[in-house]
Amino acid sequence: MTYFRSHVLVCVDPACLKKGAHEITDALQDEFVAQGLIDEIQVLETSRIGGCDNGPEIMVYPEGVHYVGFTPDDVPYLVEEHFLKGRVATKFVQQEKTFVDEELSDPTSKEVRVVLKNCGKIDPENIEDYLAEGGYEGLGKVLTSYTPEETIDIVLRSGLGGRGGAGFPTGKKWQFCRATQDWPKYMICNADEGDPGAFMNRRVLEGDPHAVIEGMIIGAYSTGSNQGYIYCRAEYPLAIKTLNIAIDQARALGLLGKDILGSGFDFDLEVRMGAGAFVCGEETALMASIEGNRGEPRPRPPFPAVKGLFGKPSNVNNVETYANVPQIIINGPEWYAAFGTEKSKGTKTFALAGDVQHTGLIEVPFGLTLREIIFDVGGGIKDGKAFKAIQTGGPMGGCLPADYLDLPVDYQELAKAGSIMGSGGLVVMDEDTCMVDIARFFMDFVQDESCGKCRNS
């Protein structure tokens, strides 16, 4: 094998190709030959390096210097500067990005990132990025070493509860669906994040779609399902686009479709779009919507695990629930159960919004107090004003005033205080907020979004 002192990677993504990436490769080859460097330096074409906004782009290793925005005519200069004189050709160096992620900053000391681990770090449109972070390892492990029952047992032992808000043990739900002797069975992902003030699921779908897909495949294997649907609200067009790209890429690698990873197990997925109805976040309404009907809930029982989508056994979990599953498989149920409180295990993502200093996404273990979340993680109230209330659980949740600041946040404690966990939107309100007006706003919302079944009963 030949060893090279340097490797030059040329980005050949469509955007860079349009700007002449192949010509750059040729020019580099020619110049290295002309300078007698061709035995020392290897030129390779690769997929995306940066954002491709400023292409063509190359990356020089081992130095890790990123050059952009030059033409074949600039290549001799670049080669002379970098490879002969050994200094960085500053005029073509990619400027440090000044882009600030307003939604997701580096974790604070009280945070634990499980679901948000890859968000903002990997390219969601490139499955290889996910694979490089250990993606689909959990699926491989499940398909090769565990029976469906063993997989369900792992999820049960992790203590993972439904992250859509109710906290029902995910493993139990899977057990019920597995037990029903009727086929086909459907695996459904609830991505109808309708609570105003909540955007955690959107960010996971846009930033790490494969984690959700992998969780769904593992769930499908455990329950015996071969077809899945992701029901995503129409307000999230980017999430839908990202999911579809991810599904295509997973299918191309044999991670979806027939005989997944040679295991004999088949599973495929489809994204279905909502059309603007809050009530479709409720699982029976959601299934009615996938069936092509008005999204009206129906009474339970029968539960979806017995009679769900198209009258067949179905399992509905939230985006965040599925995204936790691969991590639980890889790291073990004990690892996951070590986070959180006695009854609420693991971590929860929250969207902090409103009058708080640092708005955006956070992920914390259950049991942190509201005070820790608002003041330590969120940096306190904006403009030095006083805290008035925090709304948890969406419009049908509750607003907790200052007396509750030391309440540990888990499913049980929030319910005791008269609010709910809900999907994870936290809207902080300062002293200027009129609570009567807020109450009116929520009542308007629930009245408008009611399907009508409860109003006249």
């Binding site: 307003e102 105003p196 307000e235 779009m273 109805a277 092509g292 009907n293 939107g425």
Partner: protein, 171 residues
């Protein structure tokens, strides 16, 4: 009522061969899928921009489902509209964080500039103003959507500047 009918007649996709072909194509591509009604209506809404009662009947016929069912679905979901919209839409996010952040003041300012209330279109048919549910960009509240673009941290005095580009295109 008569004014609405006149607009619909003038703007009837079923009498326009290009758009009718598009509708047929969408129906044909999806009619065999389970739960086809929602998929078809979603695609037609996004391709044509609205679904009139005539179109609903036509779609029901093509899908071989009762017209009442298609009408039921169209009237249930807020994304389906039965009238043509303006060339541009401005949507105000009415999520909790945006509401607390001052969306009502932005709507008031827009009313002054464009002379229309949410749910209405400017008389020249250029801009439709709407209220929408939380778009999930709460960390930038208050947020508005100008066509597909999310504009965050909007203040009432920024509204004229935001609306100017889409107002100008009409002239």
């Amino acid at each position: 009522m008569s004014a609405t009918t006149a607009t619909v007649q003038k703007n009837n996709p079923l009498t326009d061969p290009v758009r009718k072909q598009l509708i047929d194509q969408i129906v044909d591509q999806n009619k065999e899928r389970p739960g086809a009604t929602m998929v078809v209506l979603n695609e037609i809404q996004s391709a044509i921009g609205f679904i009139t009662p005539d179109m609903q009947n036509y779609i029901a016929n093509r899908l071989q489902v009762p017209a009442s069912r298609v009408h039921g679905v169209v009237s249930f979901y807020s994304f389906f509209t039965t009238n043509a919209r303006g060339t541009h839409t401005v949507k105000f996010c009415m999520g909790t964080a945006c509401y607390v952040g001052g969306t009502p003041a932005l709507i008031e300012k827009t009313k002054q500039i464009l002379g229309v209330e949410p749910g209405k279109t400017t008389p020249d048919g250029n801009i439709t103003v709407e209220i929408c549910r939380c778009v999930g960009a709460c960390s930038q509240a208050p947020v508005i959507l100008v066509d597909e673009d999310v504009v965050g941290r909007v203040k009432p005095n920024k509204m004229p500047q935001i609306l100017k580009p889409i107002q100008e295109i009409a002239e």
